[in-house]
Symmetry: D5
Subunit: 146 residues, 10 copies
Amino acid sequence: MNKTEMKTAILDAKQTKGLTWDAIAKAVGLSKEFTCSACLGMNSLNQTQAEACAESLGLGPDVAAALQAFPHKTWDQTVPTDPLIYRFYEIVGVYGETIKALIHEEFGDGIMSAIDYSMDIQRQPDPKGDRVVVTLNGKFLPYKSW
Amino acid sequence: MNKTEMKTAILDAKQTKGLTWDAIAKAVGLSKEFTCSACLGMNSLNQTQAEACAESLGLGPDVAAALQAFPHKTWDQTVPTDPLIYRFYEIVGVYGETIKALIHEEFGDGIMSAIDYSMDIQRQPDPKGDRVVVTLNGKFLPYKSW
Amino acid sequence: MNKTEMKTAILDAKQTKGLTWDAIAKAVGLSKEFTCSACLGMNSLNQTQAEACAESLGLGPDVAAALQAFPHKTWDQTVPTDPLIYRFYEIVGVYGETIKALIHEEFGDGIMSAIDYSMDIQRQPDPKGDRVVVTLNGKFLPYKSW
Amino acid sequence: MNKTEMKTAILDAKQTKGLTWDAIAKAVGLSKEFTCSACLGMNSLNQTQAEACAESLGLGPDVAAALQAFPHKTWDQTVPTDPLIYRFYEIVGVYGETIKALIHEEFGDGIMSAIDYSMDIQRQPDPKGDRVVVTLNGKFLPYKSW
Amino acid sequence: MNKTEMKTAILDAKQTKGLTWDAIAKAVGLSKEFTCSACLGMNSLNQTQAEACAESLGLGPDVAAALQAFPHKTWDQTVPTDPLIYRFYEIVGVYGETIKALIHEEFGDGIMSAIDYSMDIQRQPDPKGDRVVVTLNGKFLPYKSW
Amino acid sequence: MNKTEMKTAILDAKQTKGLTWDAIAKAVGLSKEFTCSACLGMNSLNQTQAEACAESLGLGPDVAAALQAFPHKTWDQTVPTDPLIYRFYEIVGVYGETIKALIHEEFGDGIMSAIDYSMDIQRQPDPKGDRVVVTLNGKFLPYKSW
Amino acid sequence: MNKTEMKTAILDAKQTKGLTWDAIAKAVGLSKEFTCSACLGMNSLNQTQAEACAESLGLGPDVAAALQAFPHKTWDQTVPTDPLIYRFYEIVGVYGETIKALIHEEFGDGIMSAIDYSMDIQRQPDPKGDRVVVTLNGKFLPYKSW
Amino acid sequence: MNKTEMKTAILDAKQTKGLTWDAIAKAVGLSKEFTCSACLGMNSLNQTQAEACAESLGLGPDVAAALQAFPHKTWDQTVPTDPLIYRFYEIVGVYGETIKALIHEEFGDGIMSAIDYSMDIQRQPDPKGDRVVVTLNGKFLPYKSW
Amino acid sequence: MNKTEMKTAILDAKQTKGLTWDAIAKAVGLSKEFTCSACLGMNSLNQTQAEACAESLGLGPDVAAALQAFPHKTWDQTVPTDPLIYRFYEIVGVYGETIKALIHEEFGDGIMSAIDYSMDIQRQPDPKGDRVVVTLNGKFLPYKSW
Amino acid sequence: MNKTEMKTAILDAKQTKGLTWDAIAKAVGLSKEFTCSACLGMNSLNQTQAEACAESLGLGPDVAAALQAFPHKTWDQTVPTDPLIYRFYEIVGVYGETIKALIHEEFGDGIMSAIDYSMDIQRQPDPKGDRVVVTLNGKFLPYKSW
């Protein structure tokens, strides 16, 4: 079973059982963000986590095995078209230089890692309309000369 | 004076005077993130803010005027090449579907606004290497039928 | 049943039963524009609407379920080739800056939402040849500093 | 004087004199939408209109001549990046097939002309936030066999 | 039956029966150019024409129905690779500005319609090698101010 | 003087002297289509033609020399954006396969040359609106085995 | 049987029978270069040649028929990735202007035909390592004015 | 003096002095193909050759120095538009797989070098129209396992 | 069996048998780097190697045959998206000019061959985190004049 | 002075003074690879290093200042055209999956850092032609769940 078949199987089972990502994540013992990304095929779980994940969805060992495979991360659209995802692409375009300037001011030359990285998504209640708060947390990696 | 000339003038003055974005932002009375993005030509300030910004940099009314112009937001590189900015593009590619799934689960169908939006960048001390924490905060906009 | 299969099933049933989008929309209780876009897989209906839609077409609960799924909005052609759709792309290219200038003059810096949005398509009789009138109606979202 | 120089001269004069597109359009005797598009270099005026336009801005016969030249309409960005203009591109992507389906249902096979075309932009007051209403009006052109 | 299946069915039947486009066009009562384009899925026929077309090829009502559907005109290759078709793309590249200059000189600002359009392809005998003569005939559409 | 400077000089002189392409072509002794394309830098003239062309425009020997240089034919836009030129690109997309099928039926496998080629543009009066008639005339070149 | 199926059938039969392109070409009575290109679907054979080709491979009349069809020449990769083919693309990039300059010096303005064309590939023994010699032979086609 | 300025200087001097590539090449002591490519900035000469080249054109030591610099080989157009150069691109597209198949049959797996490479361009007289003969000669480089 | 099917069969067998690339390479008698690339379809093995490879995986003669076929090397993504592979693309972008400058300084004008080439991947223990060491080893090929 | 002007100044001074990258690097106290990349504008030096670098080249404090600026790393060509640099791009295309498979086998899921990274370029004498050895050395960064 490859990652694409795994993803379809998981999304079908999740809908049938009426589970939330939060519930699956609790069964796995990880955050809802990482668990969801692994179920969508963009990260991998260790054996214990993968079996807990498959079990929570009522799925078998082929899904558990597929969850443990190291993913080949690909996306087809250089510029995403889905409006929700595009807005994040737009943020990178509009604020990319600002982020670079402020990280350089605070840390010196280097980058924020997208590997040693975690992410958190929360609802922020607001009388003018609730807000989405996405927190990106990555290790600063300095350039070093040699 | 157009936005490109304004940006060069501001970056030169900032370096000469040894100012930080934080200091300029305090003079303006806004966050360092918004102030920096306006100085880089991606947002606009009102008259009071623009004059305070120019004054803090020792720059004249042409810069203050340019800061008030509504920007035409463009970026040349569909896929950014600078490693720091690319990492954020990569996050959109790898985690875009995850973000979409979790926002949909929490809020229903809709998007996180990139217009009614703010952003915060902080250093998080960590014995294994300090971390960059970028918080994206946008209003949830639901799709409505008509 | 995914959105693509749903779309094919709906278009087949619509042709077989000789229904118009207007008739389906009346059964659903929404505009013909929104109803059509949901049937083509670019928007979602709530349960009542989806069941009314499927029923009007003589289709089953799998179609009704697919109509309720939140869509992933994708299009393959960066520049559309179909002459009818291309003309709208051309309008954005030719008149995009004009629209931006006039909205900025009237509202200040900000955008017209494509999410809090509705659309209406009408025939305007004209002795020199009837005309198509497409009305785009979106909430103005101002940029705010923080 | 070419169209690019003309556009810069007009935008500078407009800002210096504090004119609105509406005021310039009234001097020209055309809609604000067409007048603005001609001033931005995407349409041409006849001699009387061009001279009235230049005069209203305090500009000379070289601008009036440039306003009369037939434009070569070009845009650099296949996918526009400015958020305001992108939203209209997104509308074409998301609703293009819907527009096609509804025009075909009402008129038969053919297109809406982008040449025999006019456009109107208005503010619609709304207690939940004012709305932008953009009306596109083009002649229906049927495909004919031969 | 969709347009792609229709096209394959027609090309197979045409080859099997040894028919020419000219012969099919005579049965349909239209030009060989329009008939061929409809059989390739880029135009549609009315009911009488479609039935005559299908009958001349010995094909059934599913083909006749598919011929009547309004086409979604798509092409995959932005720059065509087939040498015959590329030469026409090259002509647009090399002579596009020339065509624009001469149409503007003769007609004023506007375009040649590709919708209110017909086309004719003939052999011109020539002792140095016969020539292909392709005649493009489209209505002139003037830009109008409003 | 390179081709770009030559083109600007010719277009300026043509406008100042109020000449038409037809008048320049008569002075040169060639068709208006070829003359125009040479003046726009996409073809070359021989010495006699080039001198007659420059003289008719009141321009000097540097223009005459530039007209004789063999051009490097380039165009920037893979898909042209100008509406007039785009319509011809659209014709290649929509009717390219039709043209190929009919040339193959008439001539066998081969192409229509874009080098051994001429072109003619005429106005066709029509009570419903005058029409543009563009005639493309190229030698048929058969593929040969070896 | 289309060209893609034909190509697969021929390559399979060639491998099974252990034939070389040279041997197939001798059976067909053409060069190995043209025969190979026809078997790969990029050229067509006449009936006698096609039947000889199919027979030499032990294949049936469907292959012989497919070999006679006029090909639609397409390639997917604008820039080829296979290292052997890329080197030829690189030669066009590095030496294209050189080839143009030298052909223009020798022949005047015009092109080398890729239609009235033949090609020859030979091994040139060399003590420092044998060499590949590819000879491209095309008719010179001059540009003519009209 | 960079390669671009060098190229312009050489082409100007060549035209002024009425020299041919062949004559310059004889002065340099190399083939006309390599000499031309070096003068166009795509190869380099050694000191003796560069000085002979500059002298033959009546140019100074800055040109001789620029001719010795190692070039950075770039081309802007992924798909060339000039018809003469495009035909060679087309040959790579149409015959690339054929070339690969025949080289593999003759030599085994490997490539023809574009570095250890020479090229020759000749006129072949032909009563039906003279022909261009371009000979590409590159060392075969086998893939080796390790 | 084509290379794609071969690759799937090998990866499945490798996982089932719990083999490492190192173990397969030892059975084949080649490096793990070359063996892995051949199993992924990017290089070919000779008969002895291919049979040893298939045998070590418990696979049959169809796999052994496919391993011997000369590959057509293709990749779909001009810019790779997988983070591990992208980092190498980034290294080429950031350090490409540096590599060129240093090779030119050491060797003169020429390239490092990617055909007469080998590669080695090792773990370098490091108390601050182990390191990956990738060694690229290619023959220097000088440009030669002719 | 920006990075582009700095690079030109350094390359000119280096050529005038006849310095090697190795000599400059020794003056700076860093490797020739890092020093060269900083001089080409792709990395930055600290104050001491920058002043030593400028001094070794006989350049002033503006160059020393520019060397200390944090670079914005950009490259124009998605696929590089220079043959030397392209070969490295080709290596990523051909061997990218192999590198990924072997790193995953040795280290688990993660990447090789291009930030915590060094590079070494050496000549390897070889009687069959000297070889270029490029060693890439980057810290392994594991993916972690959260």
